[in-house]
């Protein structure tokens, strides 16, 4: 909850970005630093996926977890990526090199989009900074697993076996434990901000990758449209794995569809990395990855001879990454990752088929969760078809159908799971994010394909005449981005709660404690308690406080005057208590 903890999280995420720079260097390199800035989001997510998978694999191999292993893994990724990139001829550009690919369309529209996204991200940051831990799954197993890694330096069998969700892969606990290392404590409050970085990384990924491929109005309108849906607004900074999984699936899907159009090797490489991250984030990652790969296979049926091998390789790599975890689970007697009734057990529960499908469709279309994103996605598919595009809309519709069936299969495969949108009983709302979040990248691409070439004349002339000079745009972004925090600060400076709040000096009547001393351990507290009682304060007791300390105190004073007179009595017998508000 301190500035130091927030700074620690910044450092950790900077480290992930650096690792991602190594991955990007090996996969494609960059021709200018402006281009690197544009692709920083992609680098960050690639770095997070790579480091996350490596940390998880190290844990399974028994490598002790700690600051050293995190730093070595991330910096090792950077170094290895840089060496591979150099070997492949991806040299670093000069610092003042000119950008080779410019953002599509008038920069002012990009600037407005960036400014709105910045304000939204700032609001999410503010909401996450002091958020209490109200997420059930985070309390039940994500954070306890992370604490186990932090305190015991590895996959502590006692905790990993006994906590709920024992078969969930350890990528998220690794990140959370890494966050604890960088924050210097198990601060489960500030931890929420780690997930803010992943949201920012995802927004930057979609914006950066598509800025040169899609009209800015299409890009920012659809991107903001998706990230402003109720599920993302409410859960973006939740300490849960669901949205991180969706970001990996979203980025991987974007890489796959770009590869379907452009056939660049780096796109398929980064898709494999993102999907590897996804399958190590949650068990559902494998299902969603399979849906994306299967949709790509359907969309490339006519070119299967040359397109299928790389796509199948991506799917196979994602599946292979899960093998060590499955081996670890089996070796330690933990039940596997699949549904209790088996992958095909749903065939014995076909009566649940229609209710399960109806539930998925309800979540997708009733607007309470994802507004009108899925209907507009389907409309964009139809429009792209009408504009004679084939591969992308075919991919879109296949992915939609397969992922919808996949989400329904989950409900079908757990016969005890009630068919409800209640998140505490059925994860369908969170799972549907794996279908909707990738639409942030697919929607603008589909609309770009459908964009009528003669519509240009209908765009308000002011947009086309808008100054392309980037300084104006950046100034706009800066002003808007500064306006939000300044407005928030005008309502009062940010608070940084600390353990000092466990001992608040008494300032008014009502529930006052006479505190003789505070201890970290029980023995000296008991010794003082005996001494205090002998002096006549027979109601003295040892009270645990919220910070895990022991106070030797007399509680129950109701007026400040009465408590102050007790302080005087205590001083006369050689004690020096303070008054604290209870």
């Amino acid at each position: 909850m301190t500035i130091a903890a927030i700074a620690g999280l910044f450092a950790l995420n900077l480290l992930l970005l650096l690792a991602g720079a190594g991955v990007l260097s090996a996969a494609r390199g960059w021709s200018s630093w402006v281009e690197f800035g544009r692709l920083a989001g992609l680098a960050y997510l690639a770095g997070a996926a790579t480091v996350g998978v490596l940390l998880a694999l190290e844990l399974m191999a028994g490598v002790p977890f700690g600051l050293a292993s995190i730093l070595l893994t991330a910096l090792g990724t950077l170094a290895t990526g840089s060496v591979v990139g150099r070997a492949l001829g991806h040299r670093l550009p000069p610092m003042r090199g000119a950008a080779t690919a410019h953002a599509h369309g008038p920069f002012l529209v990009h600037a407005v989009g960036m400014a709105l996204a910045a304000v939204y991200l700032e609001a999410q940051f503010r909401a996450g900074r002091l958020a209490g831990l109200f997420e059930w799954d985070a309390m039940a197993f994500w954070i306890p697993k992370a604490k186990a890694l932090y305190y015991f330096g590895g996959l502590d069998l006692e905790f990993f076996k006994s906590l709920p969700g024992p078969s969930y892969p350890p990528l998220v606990p690794s990140f959370e434990a890494a966050a604890f290392e960088f924050m210097g404590s198990t601060d489960s409050i500030t931890l929420h901000l780690f997930f803010w970085f992943t949201l920012a990384g995802f927004v930057a990924t979609i914006a950066g990758v598509l800025a040169t491929r899609v009209r800015p109005l299409l890009l920012w309108a659809t991107l903001l449209f998706v990230v402003l849906t109720p599920v993302i607004i409410d859960h973006a900074v939740s300490a849960l794995a669901d949205l991180l999984l969706d970001y990996f699936i979203g980025a991987g899907t974007l890489m796959v569809v770009l590869w379907l159009r452009e056939r660049r090797r780096w796109q398929i490489v980064l898709a494999a990395i993102m999907f590897s991250g996804a399958v190590m984030t949650k068990r559902e990652g494998l299902l969603l990855t399979a849906c994306v790969v299967a949709a790509a296979l359907i969309a490339t049926w006519s070119r299967r001879r040359c397109d299928w091998p790389p796509l199948l390789l991506v799917g196979a790599l994602a599946a292979v990454v899960t093998i060590p975890w499955r081996v670890w689970l089996a070796a330690n007697g933990i039940a596997g990752q699949g549904p209790q009734i088996g992958y095909f057990g749903f065939l014995h529960h076909l009566d649940r088929a229609w209710p399960s499908l109806k539930l998925t469709l309800k979540v997708l279309f009733d607007g309470d969760y994802w507004l009108v994103v899925p209907p507009l996605f389907l409309a964009a598919i139809v429009l792209a078809f009408l504009a004679d595009s084939r591969t992308l809309p075919l991919f879109g519709v296949s992915f939609f159908v397969l992922a919808t069936l996949g989400c329904s299969w989950m409900t079908m495969s757990f016969p005890d799971m009630p068919i409800t949108t209640n998140a505490s009983m059925n994860p369908i709302v969170r799972l549907s994010g794996g279908l909707v979040v990738p639409m942030a990248g697919l929607l603008p691409l589909l609309l770009e394909r459908a964009w009528p070439t003669d519509i240009r004349g209908r765009i308000p002339a002011v947009l086309l005449r808008a100054p392309r000079h980037q300084r104006v745009g950046w100034a706009l972004v800066a002003v808007v981005a500064l306006a939000y925090p300044l407005t928030a600060i005008a309502g009062g400076a940010p608070r940084f709660p600390s353990t000092a709040e466990c001992a608040q000096p008494a300032t008014h009547d009502g529930n006052i404690q006479l505190v003789f001393a505070t201890f970290d351990r029980g023995a000296p507290a008991l010794a003082l308690l005996n001494r205090v009682r002998k002096t006549g304060f027979v109601q003295a007791q040892v009270i645990g406080d919220a910070c895990g300390r022991l106070e030797v105190a007399v509680p129950g004073y109701t007026t400040l005057a009465g408590a102050e007179s007790a302080v005087g009595e205590a001083r006369r017998v050689g004690l020096n208590p303070t008054l604290q508000q209870g």
Binding site: A123, F152, L228
Partner: protein, 159 residues
């Protein structure tokens, strides 16, 4: 036949072009309007959440979800303060009436695991977080380190 097919293709192309010329701006307009309506809503909702979080005490924020599980959070404060590192504890939720009982009290063990780490729970732990349990069922060598009048107690089994 060729002319008919040609005419059909032309009319289809015209129809398709008209559909995209209308459809794309409509879809875009819906996305823009929705985003512009949602953004202020989101800022308001996130701002309210930030204000609410900021108003919590240090311990309220840390305890958070535990407020719906543990009848008296002082029990866990006492446990955190008293149980020495390396010792094990257990949580016993009994059937005795507990004042301030919470609907999710059965999950007290789960929350205690989260809250008290790195302390380890164990079925035979010497330290007992008793919520509505019967201390006499733990034997005669039991010391009550803390208890409230509502049915929660921190016990230590001696020997």
């Amino acid at each position: 036949v060729t002319q008919a097919a040609k005419y059909e293709r032309q009319s289809s192309t015209l129809w398709q072009r008209a559909a995209t010329r209308i459809g794309v701006p409509v879809v875009l307009l819906i996305a823009v309007v929705t985003a512009l309506v949602q953004l202020p809503r989101a800022l308001r909702s996130l701002g309210d959440r930030a204000t609410r979080s900021s108003s919590f005490n240090y311990d309220d924020r840390l305890f958070a979800v535990g407020n719906g599980i543990i009848p008296n959070k002082q029990l866990l404060y006492e446990a955190k303060a008293w149980i020495p590192q390396g010792s094990t504890y257990r949580v016993q939720v009994g059937s005795r009436p507990v004042s301030g009982a919470q609907p999710l009290m059965a999950y007290a063990g789960l929350f205690a695991t989260y809250y008290l780490m790195p302390l380890r729970p164990a079925p035979d732990g010497r330290w007992v977080l008793c919520i509505g349990c019967d201390p006499s069922s733990l034997g005669s060598h039991v010391t009550t380190l803390w208890s409230d009048k509502q049915g929660s107690a921190l016990l230590r089994i001696n020997g």
